[in-house]
Amino acid sequence: MAVCQELSFNVDHGYLEGLVRGMKAGILTQTDYHNLSQCDTLEDMKLHLQSTDYGKLLSSSEEDLTVSLVDSKLKEILVTEFSCLRTNALPPLSTFLDYITYSYMIDNVVMLITGALKHRDVAELLPRCHPLGAFDQMAAVGIARTPSELYSAILVDTPLAQFFQDAVSESNLDEMEAEILRNKLYKAYLESFHSFCKNLGGATKDIMCPVLEFEADRRAFIITVNSFGTDLSGADRSTLYPSCGKLYPEGLQLLAKAEDHEQVKAVANCYPDFKVIFEDPESGSDCKTLEDRFFEQEVKMNTLAFLQQFHFGVFYSYIKLKEQESRNIIWIAECVTQRQKSKIHNYIPIFKGTN
């Protein structure tokens, strides 16, 4: 890596960084959310979204407006933007962008496996996959019966193959095994992504590593909390924890020993970042789920990425923020269609200061 990356950054990646910063300006503001949450029907939302960067996204469709249609349209626009970035990217940015898609691939693979276990038709499952994580061999995932078969027959050609080193086993795939597979893949993925960013160095390292560390820690917490009540032992659990986070190694050891929610909270108390998240919900006005709190924290970290220039973190952050925005719009749309006006304000605003 060059000593002064800032000097040569714009040669290869300047255009795309400019592009992504321009796209970032189109992220919905507080006023937009305020207006959206006042809507009474999806038609109203469509009318309002027309005045934002989404423009004529929804108006060109002839079918009836449903939440799932909105969802697929939002995904479509995200994929269009991403593929525009990806096709114009040069290495190492192209590798970086590929890494972003791997997480969606993992989710897709696991979803297809669980779908196949329930004997669902592949044609029915495919539209539900996230389009960012689409790959050619996707439809054939259902053929595999064991993780090793999955690896050697289908996924060996995909970029996911590199994450399979720990995950290969001969045990039959069931739902639990699929979930474990997902976590193992994620662990390998996060660690690999983390070391990739670390090798890139410079501002990319400074920005991306904390974000990925947070992601790793979040997964560790979520795995622990979800494993209560299942037959996953503490030792099994600890093999699933990604080791690139801030919790590594002491925090992870403590988490592996945790038996209930209180103990997890005790672990979180040692870390100021997570203490806030696990604090009792009485402090806030409305009770938010743990997941939402993590999302909130993630959004906060991602918005910080835009404060610095000459790094790849903006691409990651933009995709994640856009995803959060889609989640927000879908949440509002669901609330609007189900007439649950009281819960409509539970979305997670992005860029609060920019109204």
Binding site: E43, A140, G142
Partner: protein, 845 residues
């Protein structure tokens, strides 16, 4: 003229539109483009307004129109973009348009769907025939090989004992199966690999590429495909193979088991393909007819829908009155146009047949109205130059009318060349002559449009350049000797040998007969030959720049009086305008005076004693005139007087206005103090009376102001006012010096232009002219070509742009900051003609 100088007088008016006739009235107003509407429900969301449903309907129609336009474009039918201007459709006619559009959409949708289905069918059939044709080759090849027993050579563990294994497989009930189909060429490798991995080699894959490109039904792009044939053992593997085929989006077709069957299928396919071709052809013909019919009226519909949508947007800005029977709109309208507005409303009511007329009502307001300056095609270019700096504050003096003359003049001072001026003027004149040509007008080329929009500016610049070129006596860097030079060499050197032997001759005007009087127009052509030409011209052009600059700036300061008087701020006249003018004139006006004095009072005879103005000017500031000879008696005294005046005008400018305003604001408080004062010292009664009278006067003028604006309760903040005035003072005083220096760019650019054209002549044309053989004639042609190209590209375009830029700066910075604040809002009337007119801008395409 008054309108151009100050802008149109505006008023706020309320329109009471009967709900029945509101639509027609707004439509009428839109055609005329008279008024600017104000939003009366700013707090209401876009989707909660009254006419949202109508707008949604318009959008639906736009969507259908966009679909139609796309289809028409796809079918390559030209759109008749005529100059028709249909009025907005009546609300009752909208339904018919809507119905027509929907019918068209359904019809088109059906036909295209049919067409696509047919095309897909056709594609499948062609694919099938290709597959059959190519797989036959596979089978024939394998059939040839069969006797040689090498069929399963690739199979590692069948190799040992093929026959036995084959029979044992058969005994197990496993059947040899075939799957054949087509796959994209790019995917075949991955496909083969996965097939191998999943089926562990229990399959044979043979494939061959199709020579032609087949159209992909999804993307419509021609792609290369590969025909493959998989032979496998057993149903289990067959299932897997099928899944993999699905995964790679292969198109599978049944594989005929025997040769006869194959021939039958091929025959059947051939006839079906022929049938399909005819049907497809008919469908396409029909589709084209439908589209041609639609394309005739689609332009009218687009315009109508656009107008309708605009009208509903405007109606959404209006509020309802209590009885809900009429709409109230608030508009900004030029006072002169109110009769036209009334007539338009009457017309609208008449058209809709409303019994109650709609009417206008002027309402008083304190808001600052938007600025409207009416322009014609000549003045609009100059107005744009001013507006690019800032739209004038309401009723402020508009610099545009003065810019019409000063801008081309200052440009020409920098661009002074007769020849270049003529070329420029001719080019601009050509544009002016053909300005109604549609080809010139409607071009999409932005650079060309810029020039075309400024054709009158360019024309003026060209004409003025001709004038300054005559004054400078410069025509492509050569001088014209029209009237005969006033200088004579004969009187100076009578001996012919003197002329032969000396390379340089000096002409002394003091010798009688050498200088016979000034050249009638501009600079004497003999200067073109002189070696000290540059020195002479530099001195002349530098002084000229300073003179022009000081005059231009003083004019700007004088113009500010119009603003002070118009806005009834008389105190500004004494406290701002007067010190500013004194400061400028006492220092730089005096400089100009000295330049003229030197020109007038020193001639060739006593030129040796001519003083340096610069030294005198510096001494004036240092107040020590003893060292040098004074220009005229009493110079030192006058200079000290002028400097003192200039210095004293600075504190007046700095403190005068804030203190006066402070005093004015606390006037009543002060008056009470006078009374207390009065009790103590009765003899100053008269003085206090005067003060009160003055107060009354100010109060009157103040109340005048407040009558035009209902409540004028702006908080007076002394610190704020003082700070503003301090900034203004510093800016003005320092600006006077730097702006005067800035006008020297006139000299610098004119020098650069003259030198550049001279260099071009010397380096290009002169070389060509030096060859005096017959060959030289042919040589001169390309040389002249080069000269012409360089003249146009460098001297006219590049130098012209740079001179334009500098003239622009002199106007914006040096001239306009003396009086022009430019903080207004432009009047943007609701007018259909301002809607984007071409299809591409709509977002429909």
């Amino acid at each position: 003229m008054c309108s151009l100088l100050r802008g149109e007088e505006m008023c706020l008016a309320q329109l009471f539109l009967q709900s029945g006739s509101a639509y027609d009235c707004i439509s009428e107003l839109g055609e005329l483009g008279l008024v600017e509407f104000r939003d009366l429900n700013p707090s209401v969301n876009a989707f909660q307004r009254k006419y949202v449903n109508e707008i949604k309907k318009c959008e639906e129609m736009e969507r259908i129109l966009g679909y139609l336009l796309r289809e028409i474009k796809k079918a390559d039918i030209s759109l008749p973009e005529r100059d028709v201007n249909p009025v907005a459709p009546l609300p009752k006619h909208v339904m018919t348009i809507m119905e027509q559009l929907q019918r068209l959409e359904v019809e088109l949708g059906e036909v295209t769907r049919n067409k696509e289905k047919l095309q897909k069918n056709l594609l499948e059939l062609t694919e099938y025939t290709h597959m059959l044709r190519i797989t036959r080759n596979f089978v024939q090849r394998t059939a040839e090989r069969e006797p040689l027993q090498v069929q399963y050579e690739e199979f590692p563990f069948l190799e040992k004992d093929t026959v036995m294994d084959y029979s044992s497989m058969q005994r197990l009930g496993a059947k040899l199966g075939f799957i054949s189909g087509l796959i994209h060429r790019v995917k075949i490798e991955a496909f083969e690999r996965m097939l191998w991995r999943v089926c562990k080699g229990y399959t044979i894959l043979s494939y061959a590429e199709i020579d032609e490109y087949l159209e992909d039904p999804d993307t419509g792009e021609p792609t290369k495909s590969v025909v493959f044939l998989i032979s496998y053992w057993g149903d289990q593997i067959g299932q897997k193979v099928k899944k993999i085929c699905d995964c790679y989006h292969c198109h599978l077709y049944p594989y005929p088991s025997s040769n006869e069957e194959r021939n039958d299928v091929v025959e059947g396919l051939r006839t079906r393909i022929q049938d399909l071709h005819t049907v497809l052809h008919r469908t396409e013909d029909y589709l084209r007819q439908v589209l041609i019919k639609a394309s005739e009226s689609v332009y009218t519909w687009v315009v109508q829908v656009k107008k309708m949508k605009a009208i509903y947007y405007i109606l959404n800005l209006c509020s309802f009155d209590v009885t809900n029977k009429c709409l109230i709109a608030e508009v900004w309208c030029p006072i002169n146009d109110i009769p036209m507005l009334r007539r338009a409303l009457e017309e609208g009511s008449r058209k809709s047949g409303a019994t109650v007329p709609s009417f206008v009502n002027r309402i008083p307001t304190t808001d600052t109205p938007p600025t409207l300056i009416r322009t014609n095609k000549f003045t609009s270019g100059f107005q744009n130059i001013v507006d690019a700096y800032g739209v004038g504050t309401y009723r402020e003096v508009n610099p545009a009318p003065f810019t019409i003359i000063t801008f081309p003049f200052l440009f020409a001072v920098m661009f002074g060349d007769l020849g270049h001026g003529i070329i420029m003027a001719v080019f601009a004149f050509w544009m002016v002559l053909y300005e109604n040509d549609r080809k010139l007008k409607n071009t999409r080329n932005e650079i060309w449009n810029t020039f075309f929009e400024g054709r009158y500016i360019i024309l003026m610049m060209g004409l003025f350049s001709i004038y300054t070129g005559l004054i400078y006596n410069d025509c492509f860097s050569k001088s014209l000797n029209i009237f005969g030079s006033g200088w004579s060499v004969k009187a100076m050197y009578k001996d012919i040998n003197d002329i032969r032997e000396n390379r340089v001759l000096m002409l002394d005007p003091n010798v009688t007969g050498v200088f016979r009087g000034p050249y009638p127009l501009g600079i004497d052509p003999i200067w073109n030959l002189a070696t000290n030409r540059l020195t002479f011209l530099n001195s002349y052009k530098m002084k000229m720049s300073v003179i022009l600059g000081v005059i231009h700036m003083s004019f700007g300061v004088v113009l500010s009086t119009y603003n002070h008087l118009y806005f009834r701020k008389k105190y500004n006249l004494y406290l701002v305008f007067l010190p500013e003018l004194l400061f400028l004139l006492c220092l730089f006006g005096y400089l100009v005076f000295m330049i003229f004095y030197k020109w007038l009072f020193f001639s060739a005879k006593n030129s040796r004693q001519a003083p340096s103005i610069l030294i005198h000017f510096i001494n004036m500031f240092l107040m020590q005139g003893d060292a040098v000879q004074p220009l005229y008696p009493g110079q030192t005294g006058l200079q000290v007087f002028l400097v003192v005046i200039a210095v004293f005008s600075v504190p007046v400018l700095l403190l005068g206005k804030p203190i006066y305003l402070y005093w004015l604001h606390n006037g009543s408080h002060h008056l009470r103090m006078y009374r207390g004062y009065e009790r103590v010292r009765r003899n100053s009664e008269e003085e206090v009376y005067l003060m009160r009278a003055h107060d009354m006067e100010e109060g009157n003028s103040h109340s005048d102001l407040s009558s035009s604006g209902e409540h004028h309760t702006e908080e007076f903040d002394f610190a704020d006012e003082f700070l503003h005035q301090a900034i203004h003072t510093i800016e003005f005083c320092l600006g006077c010096i730097s702006n005067t220096a800035s006008y020297l760019r006139l000299w610098a650019l004119s020098l650069a232009h003259a030198q550049l054209s001279e260099v071009l002549w010397a380096m290009v044309m002169r070389i060509g002219l030096r060859m005096d053989t017959t060959l030289g004639v042919f040589f001169l042609v390309p040389v002249f070509g080069l000269f012409a190209v360089l003249t146009v590209s460098i001297l006219l375009v590049m130098e012209g742009l740079s001179a334009f830029l500098h003239a622009l700066r002199l106007h914006w910075v040096e001239f306009q900051n003396k009086f022009y604040s430019g903080t207004g809002v432009k009047f943007s009337p609701f007018s259909f003609s301002l809607l984007p007119s071409s299809f591409e801008n709509d977002g429909l395409l």
